[in-house]
Amino acid sequence: MSRFSTPLSDVPAAFAAPALAGQEVFRGALEALSRPGRIVRIAAELQAPSGVQRAAAALALALLDQDTQLWLSPSLADPAAAAYFRFHTGCVLAPAPERADFALVAARELPPLAAFAPGTDEFPHRSATLIIEVQSLVAAVGAASGWTLSGPGMQAPIGLRVGGLGAPFVREWAQNHRRFPRGVDAYLTCGDSLCGLPRTTRMEA
């Protein structure tokens, strides 16, 4: 378009009100991880890059900064999305999952959970946090199909139906849970909704 080189020509604006929205989304992220299985809606006004869900973009905007490395799964790693997160958060793009502090992943492209940093027994917080874009995310009370979640933050087991993550994920999650205090934490996002899955959560299909 222009004779001047700028990667910003196609980058959408992010949060309409950055400070307030960042706090609101951060609050939502805390709520989601402390009450696993509860579906949290992100109401903050923002423009996400094309192909990235709003809740996933909002989480990344609220959580990333120049000290974090972000890994984007192949279908999300187009230059426009990469430029968006680089510009708005200052984050560094990780070349591979094992280097990532945060990963933004489409469910069908999710690498094995063991590919991400699990932290160490001394420093379990040095683990990766995954933001997984799924096709549907529904709280399923007493449903026959779907997952049953239990563990800290839940008084009684909670039902959750997730589109796009199958039996292999449930198996890997069980391994992830057994590695405690090491392991990854995850957010599942779908459109405006998100749901937290900390490593302490037990999952049965």
């Binding site: 378009m1 222009s2 004779r3 001047f4 080189s5 700028t6 910003l8 020509s9 980058v11 604006a13 950055p18 510009f87 708005h88």
Partner: protein
Amino acid sequence: MQTGDDAQRSRWMGWLARAPLAVLESWAARAPRPEFTWLRRPETGLVMLRARAGGSGDKFNCGEMTVTRCVLRTAEGEVGVAYVQGRSARKAELAALADALLQSALHGERTERELVEPLRLRLEAEAARAQRKAQATRVEFFTLAREAGA
């Protein structure tokens, strides 16, 4: 490696960064005022300035400087970026707007003529004046050999 156009842009961004607010305001009163959206609203922070001892020695952290930055995109699609000295959000906005207009085929030349050229002459004259004043107080130590590069 910067191309010629980018080098030119980095020069004018440098002039705009040091422009007094009054100069930018008086230009803005006459300049075209395109519609724009913010990509990054003005925000103030600190930038660590690094220098080299004697201009050629080791790098060291000279001190922090207050900088205000912003990024906007005009309706025509040009992206204007500003990093300006001080805390004035208005100054950052006008500098970013000027940067966007300078890239535009329609307004570039006019903005160059009405803002950047006078600004360059003014800042160069100020620098020359400061240098003359400093030179006038220079002390020559005739008995000592001049240090290399002085």
